[in-house]
Amino acid sequence: MSILDFAGASQATISFVTNYGHRLYSDDFVRQLDQVFGSPTALANGANFFENQANPILVSEFFNLALTFEDASFDGALVWDSLQFIASPLLQTVVAKLHRMLRPGASLFALFNTEERIENISTYAYRIQDHRTIQMTARSQRKPAQIFNNRSLEKLFQDFSSVKFFLTRDRLREVIVKR
């Protein structure tokens, strides 16, 4: 199987996935968002990180860097908490691209913060230690584009065949979406 991982390369996740004989495609999606929409050049015109996500030139630059895969390339995607840092309408475009990149029956795993009245949320580096353990190492605090509830998540993934939610510790909502 081919698995897409947005958390950036880590030894633990690479070993976990490849030990099962799967192919892993690794990328640091949030870093790419920062690289395009949060670069000093992009911020120089006074627009902030989220406002830049509506700039068509920057959006085009972003899609030259990220999600440059053919349709039906993956059997699974680990997007972790990255979707929280994308504003509409870019978010819908990213989810539509993920839908196209996944094969029918493929699964997508995402995490969303559950705290509704909060300015900044913690971001983590996610590593799969074993089939029961995900190691979360705090990276920084950052502002989310929006806070999602079950209804907004169902709407976001409306083109997928099923969406399942699980409340976890650390004020996170685990979401498993089936293509």
Binding site: Q11, D28, R31
Partner: protein, 158 residues
């Protein structure tokens, strides 16, 4: 005027160096590198690098835009291109690698940037030594219906 016999020019053999060939940090090289010894690249290389039985080290100043094949690779600098190693690749903490990797083993340190796919290619188990075929009577092999026996029969006929 005295004449002296010409003294033979002394030639000292170059000291044998055990280390790798080094492409220094001020060197820019475009083309194909094919080697039968370990190589360290600390400069800029564009093209292809092939060291099938040896180790390639891309040093902290190394910038390589190339397709790379080697027995073992250590990346401390920057690589853009597909990488194939027979044994192992190590991506150190400040390294940046963009490209697809096929390898038997990978070691990636925290802080390294990697964008691309990883295919772990399991090393092939050594093939067992060929067992010499037992001589069989032609008549019994030819009358057997099992595929193995049929193959033996074919061998015998040949």
């Amino acid at each position: 005027m005295s004449t002296q016999p010409a003294r033979p020019i002394e030639t000292r053999p170059e000291p044998v160096r055990g280390g790798a060939a080094i492409i220094g940090k001020s060197v820019v090289l475009k083309g194909q590198i094919y080697g039968r010894e370990d190589v360290t690249i600390d400069g800029e290389v564009e093209g292809t690098v092939e060291l099938q039985e040896h180790r390639l080290t891309i040093g902290p100043n190394g910038k390589v835009v190339a397709t790379i094949k080697a027995r073992e690779i250590v990346v401390i600098g920057t690589v853009q291109g597909n990488i194939e190693t027979r044994e192992k690749i190590e991506i150190r903490k400040d390294a940046k690698v963009v490209g697809d990797i096929r390898t038997a083993r990978i070691v990636i340190e925290d802080g390294a940037y990697f964008k691309g796919s990883i295919d772990i290619v399991r090393a092939e188990a050594p093939k067992p030594a060929a067992v010499p075929p037992k001589p069989q009577p032609v008549a019994s092999a030819a009358t057997s219906s099992s595929p193995a026996a049929a193959a033996s029969a074919g061998d015998i006929k040949r």
